[in-house]
């Protein structure tokens, strides 16, 4: 319970699938409370006792189903079942009583649906709830109005329900676009960081070879440390810790043989191949997730420049407001691109230098809007030959 609360409080550090799981657990808890209250309210409903018992049994079954779906990590299915459950509760209340509080269930249902922040879910289930809500208000209008109510109050009920839906629809659409844009930016950034890490890893390997160092996976002490740590953690969580050594052996074996050969090996079971496939992202002999996380983590302990507001600014126009300074900046950037290796060559060495034509193409690419203004690009195009002749490749 404390662990769950800790995760709720720290939702902003968790990926989407974890947040969905938290949401569905919260909705389940909420539905259980409302269902428990429904047992009391059901005494006032217009249904026969048999119907009440059957419906309550169905709700209990639904709660059990949601629990099982969460338990077996079928989160999207659990989301759908919780929404259907909420709509069923709404129908049970609105068909069972004319009381004003039943009307609140339309708002409660919409809140549950919008909570999941999935546009297609809001559009489908949300529209159904609003449609049913409008129908309900119209049919039960006599019970919803006060004795000396304002003119057209039934339309006020409808308009406000529809407005509530539209506001959250607008919010969902905006969030969907915002999150997609942010995610796209994040994925692109991660790919660019990966390309830096490819270079870094190559040079770190060169340094290791020069120092006659041993790679992680060939280092006995390292393997012993990992083995003992794994067994220790496994023993704390399970009765037996030794079974993890088989997985660890497989992990080391993938380093030696490569994943492709293990997948091709007909003697190995499908389960072993599945585990090998999942372990692949944690290998240490190329830039895997493991190596990326290690490098990113390690950068935390390296010295870095003091923070300045333009730390993440890469646009020459904003770094150098004066025109003459911008010209000098473009000249240096061109010189760097035309003389320093910035990519891997065909032999896998980080020695590839861009040609003048490639730099011209690069400057014309849409990605350059992060670095150059239209005016700067036009200036480069007009003077491309001067750049090539004076700043181009040495020798």
């Amino acid at each position: 319970m404390m662990n769950f609360l800790r995760r709720v409080v720290n939702t902003d550090f968790l990926p989407m699938n974890e947040v969905r799981k938290i949401k569905v657990v919260i909705v389940m808890a909420f539905l259980l409370i409302v269902t428990a209250a429904t047992i009391g309210f059901a005494f006032f409903f217009d249904y026969t006792n048999a119907v009440k018992i059957v419906v309550m049994a169905v709700f209990l079954f639904g709660a059990g189903l949601i629990y099982l779906l969460i338990r077996f990590n079928r989160i999207m299915a659990a989301i759908h079942v919780t929404i259907v459950y909420t709509i069923a509760l709404t129908m049970f209340y609105t068909q069972g009583t004319d009381s004003f509080y039943a009307y609140l269930f339309f708002y409660i249902s919409l809140t549950v649906i919008v909570f999941y922040q999935e546009l297609y879910i809001f559009l489908s289930y949300g529209t159904i709830v609003v449609g049913y809500g409008v129908f309900y208000i119209w049919i039960h209008r006599a019970n919803l109005v006060a004795p000396d109510d304002i003119p057209g109050s039934v339309y006020a009920y409808i308009v406000l329900l529809v407005l509530f839906y539209l506001i959250f629809l607008l919010q969902s659409m905006h969030n969907e676009k915002l999150y997609t844009d942010l995610n796209l930016e994040w994925v692109k950034l991660n790919q660019v960081i990966g390309s830096y890490q490819d270079f870094t890893l190559f040079h770190l390997e060169e340094i290791r070879k020069k120092n006659k160092g041993v790679p992680f996976y060939e280092d006995r002490a390292f393997r012993k440390a990992v083995d003992e740590l794994s067994v220790f953690v496994c023993e704390q969580l399970k009765d037996k810790g030794k079974e993890i050594t088989n997985v660890l052996d497989l992990y080391i074996y993938i380093h030696e043989r490569g994943l492709a050969k293990i997948i091709e090996n007909e003697e190995l079971s499908v389960a072993t191949k599945k585990i090998a496939n999942r372990l692949d992202k944690y290998l240490l002999n190329r830039r895997t997730d493991m190596v990326s996380i290690l490098m990113n983590f390690f950068t935390r302990f390296r010295t870095t420049d003091d923070y300045r507001p333009n730390r993440y600014e890469y646009h020459l126009g904003r770094l150098a407001p004066a025109t003459a300074e911008q010209v000098v900046a473009i000249a240096f950037v061109y010189r760097y691109l035309a003389n320093e290796p910035t990519a891997f060559d065909r032999y896998g060495q980080p020695d590839r230098i861009m040609s003048h034509e490639e730099i011209c193409q690069l400057f014309a690419a849409p990605e350059m809007e992060e670095f150059l203004s239209d005016g700067q690009i036009a200036f480069f195009k007009e003077n491309a030959e001067l750049f090539r002749d004076h700043l181009g490749r040495k020798g």
């Binding site: 995760r7 902003d12 990926p15 989407m16 947040v19 209250a37 309210f41 006032f44 990590n73 509080y101 809140t111 549950v112 909570f115 006599a142 019970n143 006060a146 003119p151 308009v159 406000l160 905006h174 915002l178 995610n183 994925v187 390309s195 830096y196 870094t200 040079h203 770190l204 060169e206 160092g213 992680f216 002490a221 012993k224 440390a225 990992v226 740590l229 794994s230 220790f232 969580l237 079974e243 660890l248 999942r278 944690y282 990113n296 983590f297 390690f298 950068t299 302990f301 390296r302 870095t304 923070y307 730390r311 003459a324 300074e325 000098v328 010189r335 691109l337 690069l362 670095f371 004076h390």
Partner: protein
Amino acid sequence: MKREPARVFPEIEEYREMLEIKHLRAKNHFVILLLAVGAALTILYMAFTDYAIGYILSLLIAFLALILMNLTCLAYGRENIRFNQLNKYVTTFGVFAVAVAMLFIFQSPSMLSLLFIAYALAAFYQDRKVMLISNVSLLFTFLALMTNFRVFFTVENASAENDFGLYFFVIVFISLLTISQYIMIKQKGFFYNQIAISRETEFRNIDFMIDACEKSTGAKIDTKGYFAAAESFAKALSAKIGVDDAFAGKLAVLKDLEAGTKYEVILAKHPDYAVGDLDRMSELLFTGRHKLRKVAIKMSRVRGVDVHKREIFSETQFKTFNHPSDTLEIKIIAFAVFYAALKRGSAGMRPLTESEIYDAIVHTDYYFYNDPAVMRIYRENNAVFDAIVKDAFAPEAGK
């Protein structure tokens, strides 16, 4: 419960806030639109149903004041971002005030939902303080109205069950709204966090790459060659456009800055320049880890980044040791490898101490990169982890 974890990189806070404010402006446009729609619907209704002109005018002025304040804060927000923050708090108070005013003017149970509409409008901002204001306003207004102005909500079939149901379900509804808003605010924070962390990770990874490259190859940038080429280019460009060499002064200052000459000496040599100019021009240095080199490196990498639609929101993009598809054994091995690798260190990466690792893993967002059960074991037994690794790496252990 443990305190909220610190950011893995403390530098990102300001950028994260800036990202939030940038998107807040877009949300403000939606709020203005919805306020305008609300105003139009209310005034039209009141006009058609012959309400007293005093009521119509008072609501019209209230709506207009809110809209004008929003527009003003949007305009001033360009100069000072605090106006955007002020705006969301004042607007939240404003929409609840207008909703309460309408409840008193109309005195109809149908208008109870106006409070929910006010809450939904304020929810657009997805802000913790706004959420607090909304919750307090909604709860207080509802309880105050139900206690002192119960007549507003009297419908045809009033009963004790109806009264209790109304209290109970409004409280349930507010609780649900609160939890829902809280999680949505946090969820939005996740994206801002990730972008900000990636920005800082990128900055540090470029530094790491530059250092690794220089250490591996021993090659440094040929500063003299760069300045000679730049001077030649500047002269040719000046000749082409028919002016005296307009860049000579700038290049001379940059050359001094690049050589690490003290500001006082540069300012004495170039009296036309001020400290602010030198600070600004320092961004144009291109050796070592300087900014212009980072710009060139980043420029050379962004081309050809191809993101498929299915990669967006893909869980595989989130690099973690807590993938739902992995078994517990895999998660344990992943953490054990990670921990042992940090302790061992390698070429270019020094071994980290136990306190460095513990502090970074347990007290920052790295905590959530791991399975909660594995983290609990580490948190409670980090001394054992340390002893195991020390024992394995002891000189006689590997033999």
